[in-house]
């Protein structure tokens, strides 16, 4: 059968969603070709701010990997732009000289950042915030430069500013208007937001109009209309979007601000459609995801020849994705003579909610500080429900009132606008797949996986569907994992009370519903048992995850890394020689200094591990464990002219004492001989900073994903006091943290003041240290153990080669 040729220009969210809808409706109708100007598969642009803020990697936000295109027989040309459309010949031409014919053509070229047409806007260090390239540029700049200015106090600008703060830059936000997000927020919400962001470290320059960007090749600053000036190494313009319509220029297709389309996304040219941010529908160009998906659906129906309901425009809701800020807005913002407001304003807790009502119907919503009502209110707004007698704000008692609300909700109603998931689909997934937690529902149905705004609603649906079986606590995942409903505290109490001594016993006695557990609970139970029965517990090696089981880090190709212990980052010429000899002999593909001041040998086959360890004859560096990893040190008083204390000696002593200790998560330490902090002690789980006549002890720092500076726990005079305080602190963490909870999260959860209070008591400190010392006695060097035990070598490291045939 002859397949029609469908060509799409653009490989973004709106376009690819349209293709997905087409494949659903009519999988074999078209031979599909897609041109994408960016060199990537399709990614989730809403999540760029998560990348910038350090919460996601690029791979996390890919929506359709390259395999998806292959599986669906889609010809994809990435890094290639279409430059010309010939409507008569029904052909498109690319910048690589390609010519492709079409029967149907979809233009989904999206938009670009609007860049102010002012002098200097073309300087190095000026960028928009639209694609992964912009993101990378901002991340790179942050590693070299200090000061950023974001122009635009709207949604995108504030998200960009938060990201730049996370990257360690100082950030000014320049805004033309007197209040932030003025198109979405009323002045009260706006001022609450500004105060919160200021407390997070953003500096606002309000009512400033940028007239010039100054600098030589690279930007150095901005000049404003009032003559004032702001210094900048990086300028991000986040003031809006401009439809990317260059490709239709000279083609004869009618454009205004975007490519003008009718209610079926048809352009003025036959068989040519436009969808997404490049399209202008009823004089509106949408820059948010939900409407683009609505458009895609209608366009797909049209192209497949189905009878489609016309697209009549969208009312959109906005949510700010910035940590510490709960904010939602939709519809109209300002009162006129025909509207009335329903308001809740709790200044003390920073909660502000306002719903704008006209003729008994909601026409606008602003929620700040508590956005749980957003989905329900937004639905009432879009459905134009009569609100007479309906209570508007009820999020405090969500489960019950939510249920009544869910009952009346039709099955085909969209719950997750981003991913097009209906109530019916969620209910069915819960019923057929036996789901009990929000996470599981998100996983199975995709609901809540994009912007996350619908999560409270999904939770309500879960509560409603499960009825009596719904366990609110379990759904919020306070249980250890889905194998049980028991929480960590209950588990520890049960282990102590019933005297449980093995992983298997715990799961049997406490009636695990999955009799051999999973990767979440088994390592956790193993840890808790070891922590409670500090001397007699025999570690269950098969309940440990791969790295700890193998005592080496697994790499993605199945090879391992070997990192020998190097106490305090100090080594000798003899050890260096040994490492070199072994690396050469085993043809180690990569020798690298690790982030913790040690030498790592990467790319080792598992069957080579024991013999390499034997030849190295050095202890394991535990570069893989939930344990003390390294103690980083600076050279300190011995060599450095600023050093006040002997940081190397203290680092070595700490590492020797606490090595191999099991902890809820990995623990890193740093020792600096002076406040210059060359060993980055301020972002370690425990950091020591030498001062004149003593040491400052910082705790709960983290250099990882959630960058956090440590808090001062105590200042002590002697190294003996350092050891005592550290032992007590670590043991208290071991005893009270959830498994897989880093110290940075733990201290925030239990409170620094609480920890200080506990450790202030000398008796408590002594008892903690005693338990610590008893625990430390049981550890043996794992590499050495493996070398000496044929059983271990056989069970964990052998690969058996078999000759063919019996």
């Amino acid at each position: 059968m002859h397949m029609k040729k469908l060509v799409m220009i653009g490989n973004g969210m709106a376009g690819v969603r349209t293709i997905e809808e087409i494949l659903k409706l009519s999988p074999n109708q078209f031979e599909i070709t897609i041109f994408g100007q960016e060199p990537h598969p399709n990614y989730n642009r809403i999540k760029l701010s998560n990348i910038l803020q350090g919460d996601a990697s690029f791979e996390d936000i890919i929506i359709n990997p390259l395999d998806w295109y292959k599986e669906n027989d889609i010809q994809l040309f990435t890094g290639e732009a279409v430059t010309k459309i010939d409507l008569k010949a029904k052909k498109v031409f690319s910048d690589e000289g390609r010519e492709v014919e079409y029967d149907e053509l979809i233009i989904a070229t999206g938009s670009n950042s609007f860049i102010l047409p002012i002098p200097g806007a073309d300087k190095l260090g000026v960028t928009g915030f639209r694609d992964i390239k912009d993101c990378e540029m901002m991340i790179n700049s942050a590693s070299q430069y200090k000061k950023a200015v974001v122009i635009g106090g709207g949604l995108l600008g504030l998200e960009a500013a938060r990201g730049l703060l996370n990257l360690g830059m100082k950030v000014d936000v320049v805004h033309l208007m007197p209040s932030l997000m003025e198109r979405q927020l009323d002045p009260i919400a706006s001022s609450l937001l500004k105060a919160e962001l200021e407390s997070q470290g953003m500096n606002f320059l309000m009512e400033k109009e940028t007239v010039e960007i100054i600098g030589d090749e690279r930007v150095a600053g901005l000049r404003f209309k009032d003559g004032s000036f702001a210094r900048a190494d990086l300028v991000v313009m986040a003031i809006g979007i401009k439809s990317n319509i260059g490709v239709v220029k000279d083609s004869g297709i009618y454009v205004n601000r975007g490519i003008v389309v009718n209610d079926y996304m048809e352009t003025s040219a036959p068989n040519v459609y436009a969808v997404g941010e490049c399209a202008e529908h009823r004089e509106i160009v949408y820059g948010l995801v939900a409407p683009l998906y609505e458009q895609g659906k209608i366009l797909a129906e049209r192209i497949c020849g189905k009878e489609a309901a016309p697209y009549e425009g969208s009312v959109t809701g906005t949510q700010l994705k910035v940590a510490g800020v709960d904010l939602y807005s939709a519809g109209e913002i300002f009162e006129d003579g025909t509207t009335k407001s329903i308001m809740v304003y709790n200044e003390y807790e920073g909660i502000y909610k306002r719903v704008l009502v006209r003729n008994n119907k909601i026409v606008g919503i602003v929620l700040y500080g508590d956005t749980k009502d957003s989905t329900r209110l937004f639905r009432m707004l879009t459905k134009k429900e009569d609100i007479t007698g309906v209570s508007i704000f009820e999020s405090q008692c969500s489960a019950e009132s939510g249920s009544g609300d869910i009952a009346s909700m039709p099955n085909d109603e969209l719950v997750c606008g981003c991913n097009g998931v209906t109530k019916g689909a969620i209910v069915e997934a819960i019923k057929t797949q036996g789901l009990t937690t929000l996470d599981q529902v998100s996983h199975c149905t995709n609901a809540g996986r994009s912007c996350g705004r619908c999560k409270p609603m999904v939770n309500d649906i879960l509560a409603y569907t499960l009825g009596d079986q719904f366990d609110a606590a379990a759904a919020q995942k306070t249980s250890i994992c889905s194998c049980t409903t028991i929480s960590r505290e209950e588990l520890i109490a049960e282990i102590k009370e019933k005297g449980l001594t093995s992983v298997k016993e715990v799961m049997n006695v406490l009636e695990w519903n999955n009799e051999e557990g999973c990767t979440k609970c088994r390592p956790a139970i193993n840890y808790y048992l070891g922590m409670i029965h500090m001397d007699e517990y025999k570690d269950d090696r098969d309940s440990r995850l791969v790295n700890e089981k193998m005592h080496a880090n697994i790499q993605k190709d199945g090879t391992y890394s070997v990192v020998p212990r190097m106490y305090g980052g100090v080594t000798t010429a003899a050890d260096l020689k040994k490492i070199a000899v072994v690396a050469e002999k085993y043809e180690v593909p990569l020798v690298k200094l690790t982030g913790g001041q040690r030498i790592g040998l990467f790319g080792v086959k598992k069957e080579d591990l024991p013999s390499m360890w034997e030849e190295l004859d050095m202890p394991s560096g535990y570069a893989y464990g939930k344990t003390l990893r390294t103690v980083k040190t600076c050279v300190g008083a011995q060599f450095c002219r600023y050093g006040t204390q002997d940081s190397m000696a203290l680092g070595i002593e700490l590492e020797k004492k606490f090595e191999r200790l099991d902890t809820p998560h990995k623990v890193k330490m740093g020792v600096s001989a002076c406040p210059r902090n060359c060993s980055e002690a301020g972002i370690k789980d425990i950091g020591f900073v030498g001062i004149d006549g003593g040491w400052e002890i910082y705790v709960a720092g983290n250099g990882g994903v959630d960058l956090r500076a440590g808090d001062l726990l105590a200042t002590v005079k002697t190294e003996a006091e350092v050891m005592e305080m550290t032992g007590a602190y670590l043991q208290y963490y071991r005893e009270t943290a959830n498994y897989l909870e880093r110290t940075s999260k733990w201290v925030v959860r239990v409170g620094l003041e609480h920890v200080k209070e506990v450790l202030a008591n000398e008796e408590t400190r002594k008892a903690l240290n005693e338990r610590m010392d008893q625990t430390l006695k049981k550890y043996i060097e794992p590499w050495n153990e493996a070398i000496e035990s044929e059983n271990i070598k056989d069970k964990y490291y052998a690969v058996h080669t078999v000759k063919a045939g019996e």
């Binding site: 051999e516 098969d542 993605k556 199945g558 690969v799 019996e806």
Partner: protein, 106 residues
Amino acid sequence: MILTKTRTLVANYSVLPVRAGYSVKLHDNEVALFKVTNGKVFAIENRSPHPKGGVLTEGLVSGEFVFCPVYDWKISLADGKVQAPDEGQVKTYQVEVEEDNVYIIK
């Protein structure tokens, strides 16, 4: 053409560790044998169906499932199917245990 199946002795039943993978190189294939708690032996290809690859022998074993050690996918040892929400399937081999001998049929 007559299709014949070959039967290859790959291990002794008594030496197989319980709830741990056992790597076997068979021709060019790496096979992972698993003896689970109920005594059954399963053989699957030692390669995760995750797009980024990875091995399976080092995974945590629970019942008749193994959790892929690198990406934590839960995979059925019986039919090789990856459990929801993830998708995919690992190649499985037929296993025969005769006295102390474990054979792979293919």
